[in-house]
């Protein structure tokens, strides 16, 4: 099984030896199909789990091909395939892209290990590999803003990894295992462990307030990589949060509070993301903020599940369903934005227009994805958002003080609708505002279309049979998480109520859009001091300034000391020379005191000191 998981990485390493992009992609696609076939084989039971455990003397890394992890791993491979196909047109064929292919493969392997890890240690292994490799993807373009975004991403990721490591150390110390369902003794600080994990995974999940890397890093990467990053990589964070909640499930008091925390963080995250997204004019940045917002939905669902415990089936299934859904439509949206970029060479939404004539396929795919993400009935977003909404309503019934969250949920859905009306309207509809080169249909273009088509198919497939997906696929895959409500779920997605709710959101979204265009609300720029980044930069600058100051002071002090010492040394040498009798013969000169340089003098002085020390000490201990 490790063979399947490591296949993308090996393919990436082999790509170093190939110079031609088409061959590199072909090799990677073969690896992808190999891994995918292997996973399907394991899922259907054709292949046995042999080699799932990598047992080394003193260490054990285990994979398990079952449940929700396997499902997410399958989606990771799907996204990798789509982004590989898209890479064919994104990069120049004769440019050297071996670094990119290696990093993409390594990221994919990291994601697979994270999802398929049978315990927290293996999960952590994949998580770190993924963090590092994806850092390379973020800075691959070698542009100034990519470096700054990459730095933020890397250091926040490292910090998150360290928090995770700390929580693992605590987990192992108190339970002696890394299992997902480890049992805690009475004395264990379960809440602290869970919060550390939540923070560590939250960084990757784009959870407010540790989301700041996401809107910088995702647009900075090459588009096919952004699709992978925004599509599936951030899901590893959500998956980690799910595992954290599963771990805490054995302590119900902690679980409920933790659930409430995640729920509230989710609501804040979704609101923040959508508000910021509405204010963007660059399409990729807007999509990145929507990733934050949609992660908020997922976190809300998971929070509901943990808050309601065994009754929280709707939150759990809805959250996980939304993880799958968001991975495909967000990747698809990034790829369509990339396709537009290939022809227009920029993504400033207010300057584009009329692309539906030039890029009809892309327009169709973008429409499918936008309908998916906004929750248009019949597509996948509608199903998962409705289930999460039902879960939230149940949570409100349990704790009426949360009533406002349900209203916020509707407003955020409306904001999403508005945002994607903007996306479709400004980029694809109307007349072109500038000259755009129409595409030449080469094999590479068809590959790109195929990549996007795969994802569009997934969006539709996940949406057409929501009852089947949620009840027959997700619920069995969530086996083992009964404490979060996996056993307590019945799908009733298409009802008058839910259609009415989404209708309200669409109407409100349209109203916001019209009002926004009318009064130029989308061009408001928020003051700088509102951003976390601003304060972070202040702190870094302050630290730098104080360090430089201290260093300068220290240097000055040392220089002063140095010159003093040198003067003493000179004086000492002169004194020695004066004492010297200046002998004539060579032998005498060799023996003269002048040849005893300062070092030797020092040795003698130290030896003298030792002798001096010896006698007082001797008397001291007598």
């Amino acid at each position: 099984m490790w063979l399947f998981v490591l296949a993308p990485l090996f393919a990436g390493v082999l790509c170093l030896a190939l110079r031609d992009l088409r061959r590199q992609v072909a090799l990677s696609v073969v690896a992808c199909l190999f891994a995918g076939g292997g996973l399907i084989g394991l899922w259907t039971g054709v292949l046995t789990d042999a080699g799932a455990e990598l047992v080394l003397p003193g260490a054990r890394f285990a994979l398990s091909a079952q449940g929700i992890g396997l499902l997410l791993a399958g989606f990771a491979l799907l996204l990798w395939l789509a982004s590989l196909l898209f890479s064919l047109s994104w990069f120049q064929p004769h440019q050297d892209n071996s670094r990119y292919m290696l990093l993409l493969g390594a990221t994919c392997t990291g994601i697979l290990i994270t999802f398929l890890g049978a315990d927290f240690l293996t999960l952590f292994l994949g998580f770190e590999l993924m963090s590092l490799a994806s850092w390379g993807l973020v800075i691959h373009t070698q542009k100034e803003d990519a470096y700054s975004a990459g730095g933020l991403y890397l250091y926040l990721g490292m910090g998150g990894g360290l928090l995770l490591l700390t929580s693992l150390a605590l987990l192992y110390y108190y339970t002696g295992s890394f299992a997902f369902d480890a049992r805690f003794p009475e004395t264990a600080p379960v809440a602290a462990i869970a919060l550390l994990m939540l923070a560590g995974f939250g960084v990757k999940a784009g959870m407010v307030p540790v989301h700041i890397w996401l809107p910088e890093a995702h647009p900075a990467a090459p588009v096919p990589a952004s699709a992978l990053l925004s599509g599936i990589l951030i899901k590893t964070g959500a998956y980690g949060v799910l595992r954290t909640l599963g771990l805490a499930a054995s302590v119900p008091a902690v679980l409920q509070n933790l659930g409430l925390t995640v729920l509230l963080l989710g609501i804040i995250t979704m609101t923040f993301g959508v508000v910021m997204a509405l204010l963007q004019h660059e399409a990729k940045r807007m999509l990145a903020f929507h990733s934050i917002s949609q992660m908020g939905y997922i976190l809300t669902g998971l929070g509901v599940a943990a808050f309601l415990g065994a009754q929280g089936g709707e939150g759990l299934v809805g959250g996980v369903y939304h993880m799958l859904n968001h991975s495909v439509f967000k990747a698809l949206l990034f790829l369509t934005a990339g396709a537009v970029y290939l022809h227009a060479h920029h993504l400033h939404m207010y300057k584009l227009g009329g692309m539906y004539r030039i890029l009809p396929f892309t327009f169709a795919f973008a429409l499918v994805a936008a309908m998916g993400i906004t929750g248009f009935p019949g597509l996948n977003g509608f199903a998962s958002k409705t289930i999460i909404h039902h879960g939230l309503v149940t949570a409100v019934q349990a704790l009426p003080r949360l009533a406002w969250t349900e209203k916020v949920f509707t407003v955020v859905s409306a904001g999403t609708v508005c945002s994607f009306i903007k996306f479709i309207w400004f980029i694809f509809a109307g007349e072109p505002k500038e000259e755009v080169t129409p595409p030449r249909y080469t094999p590479a273009t068809w590959m790109m279309v195929a990549g996007m088509g795969l994802l569009a198919l997934a969006v539709i497939a996940l949406g057409v049979f929501p009852n089947f997906v949620s009840e027959k696929v997700l619920v069995p895959a969530l086996g083992g998480l009964e404490a979060l409500g996996a056993g307590h779920f019945h799908a009733h997605i298409y009802s008058g109520h839910s259609l009415l709710d989404i209708g309200k959101a669409f109407a409100l979204g349209a109203v916001i859009f019209v009002a926004g265009v009318r009064w130029h609300l989308f061009h408001i720029s928020l003051p700088q001091w509102l951003s976390m980044r601003y304060w972070g930069q202040l702190v870094v600058q302050g630290a730098e300034a104080s360090l430089t100051g201290t260093e300068r002071g220290w240097d000055r002090l040392m220089a002063a000391l140095d010159s003093k010492l040198e003067r003493w040394e000179h004086a000492g040498e002169e004194l020695l020379q004066q004492m010297d009798c200046r002998p004539r013969s060579r032998l005498e000169r060799a023996m003269s005191i002048i040849n005893l340089n300062f070092d030797t003098m020092l040795v003698m002085a130290v030896l003298g000191l030792i002798l001096l020390l010896y006698f007082p000490l001797a008397s001291l201990f007598a």
């Binding site: 390379g136 192992y172 000490l617």
Partner: protein, 479 residues
């Protein structure tokens, strides 16, 4: 008299003489390498053959004062590490000196003599022997520091001598104090000072910390280490990442647990302040490293900081932290020697010494920078490289010892490590427009770092290569 110990300690002297054999044209290159291999085999044999743990006395200087050796667990751990790394380091030095032809014979004489000093420190059976070889180490490495004979090198050599000799003098004072109180200097499990008054124990502990702390680069006493970076890179790699600094740490370990003893250490009640000292070293060392542009100097400050991990465990007196620090003792040696090898290879091949000029170096020297990246990731503590092992055991030790504040220090240090290593990796692979090319693995300048980097991963993936030996050592030091 144990033959293997005789080979380990005395053979390098012969090797150093053989460097001057006029009849052999390649003697300066062959003799040190052969010596290193034989010594490594002998040390490995000490573990395999029965009776390795017996004391063999060479020379009774005075009643109670003898030059004696014994290969117990702690001794073997240090001796094996140093002897094993001496082999690639010598191969590397051969290639390095082939490029920088300057008094090759003199260089290899002292290089090989350093092995004697290191083995003597590692295998010593009493404080007197330890002290003698500790002094010897200073004298035989000093010519290596000033090897380039530039004014800067001479100045660095002077600083090195001042610090080291002053430190050794303090060690001597501690030795005298021990002799006075205990009447013997033989290392014994459980220590010699168990019954002494707390004031005496405290005095001894402080003297030992000051004395061995010089070579272990405990913070206010660290200044010689960055200065000594003017030495040729093989020297920096071996002596200032493995042999000399680890000799300081080993001296602390040996004297704290076999002379003072863990019970007496507890009675002295100094561990909190000593831990604070180590923590300051860890953090401030990292901050200094952050601000260096010369690669070797950055690595030197990184060494200062990482040695803090080792002294932390030694100072704590708790078995868990000591286990972690012994793991780091070996792991840090492996990682740091890799980093220095890489720095030397870059300097030799391209003449670049400054980090700010390393843009695109990774594409010109992918093997070397690949090895550098692995070792640097290990320094940050990324799973599955061996640095992760040390950090993991230190974490567990901190929890067992009830000192969670240590974890905070280690986390901060790991993040600082990331701050000063990742910009190098980023610049090497993600800046500039160089074309990919391979530098060829045939030169020892290139394959030695690749080899040690591979060892970093092997040790990281297979904890049982190291953990049992470290655990055994802790067992023998703290009952």
């Amino acid at each position: 008299m144990n033959v293997l110990i005789l080979i380990a300690v005395a053979l390098p002297v012969l090797g150093a003489v053989a460097v001057w054999l006029p009849s052999l044209r390649r003697a300066p290159l062959v003799a040190p390498l052969l010596t290193a291999v034989l010594v490594a085999l002998a040390v490995a044999g000490l573990k395999l053959m029965p009776g390795g743990g017996e004391t063999s006395t060479w020379w009774q200087v005075a009643p109670g004062l003898s030059i004696a050796f014994r290969a117990d667990e702690a001794a073997w751990l240090f001796a094996m590490l140093a002897a094993a790394l001496w082999v690639p380091a010598t191969a590397y030095a051969n290639s390095y000196m082939a490029h920088h032809r300057h008094k090759v014979r003199r260089f290899f004489t002292f290089f090989t003599l350093s092995l004697t000093a290191t083995m003597g420190i590692a295998l010593s059976a009493n404080f007197f022997t330890l002290y003698l070889f500790y002094e010897l180490l200073t004298f035989v490495t000093w010519p290596l520091v000033i090897h380039n004979e530039t004014p800067g090198a001479r100045r660095a050599g002077r600083i090195y001598l001042i610090y080291s000799l002053a430190g050794a003098a303090v060690v001597l004072a501690a030795m005298v104090a021990t002799w006075w109180v205990a009447g013997t200097l033989d290392f014994t499990p459980g220590g010699l000072l168990a019954g002494a008054s707390p004031a005496v124990i405290r005095l001894t502990v402080i003297l030992l910390t000051l004395g061995f702390g010089v070579k272990a680069a405990v913070m206010p006493l660290h200044a010689w280490l960055p200065a000594a970076m003017v030495a040729p890179t093989p020297v920096s790699a071996l002596l200032h990442a493995v042999a000399v600094v680890n000799a300081g740490c080993f001296g602390l370990l040996r004297t704290f647990y076999s002379v003072v003893g863990s019970a007496a250490l507890e009675a002295a009640a100094l561990s909190t302040s000593l831990l604070a000292l180590a923590s300051i070293t860890i953090i401030i060392g990292s901050i200094f490293a952050l601000r260096q542009d010369l690669l070797k100097r950055r690595l030197a400050y990184s060494t200062v900081s990482q040695l803090g991990y080792i002294t932390l465990g030694v100072f704590s007196g708790s078995p868990g932290l000591l286990l972690g620090s012994l793991m780091h003792f070996v792991n840090h040696g492996l990682m740091k020697i890799t980093l220095f090898f890489c720095a030397g290879a870059i300097i030799t091949r391209t003449g670049i010494e400054h980090i700010s000029k390393m843009e695109g170096i990774g594409r010109r020297m992918p093997w070397v920078m690949g090895a550098f990246t692995l070792a640097a990731l290990g320094m940050v503590g990324i799973i599955p490289i061996n640095g992760f092992q040390s950090k993991w055991f230190l974490f567990q030790g901190a929890l067992t010892a009830g000192r969670p504040e240590v974890i905070v220090i280690l986390l901060a240090s790991a993040l600082l490590n990331a701050f000063y290593f990742f910009p190098i990796i980023g610049a090497a692979f993600f800046k500039g427009e160089e074309k990919w090319q391979s530098e060829g693995l045939s030169s020892a300048l290139i394959w030695t770092p690749v080899l040690t980097a591979a060892l970093c991963i092997v040790f990281g993936l297979i904890p049982s290569l190291l953990h049992p030996f470290a655990a055994e050592t802790v067992q023998s030091l703290i009952n």
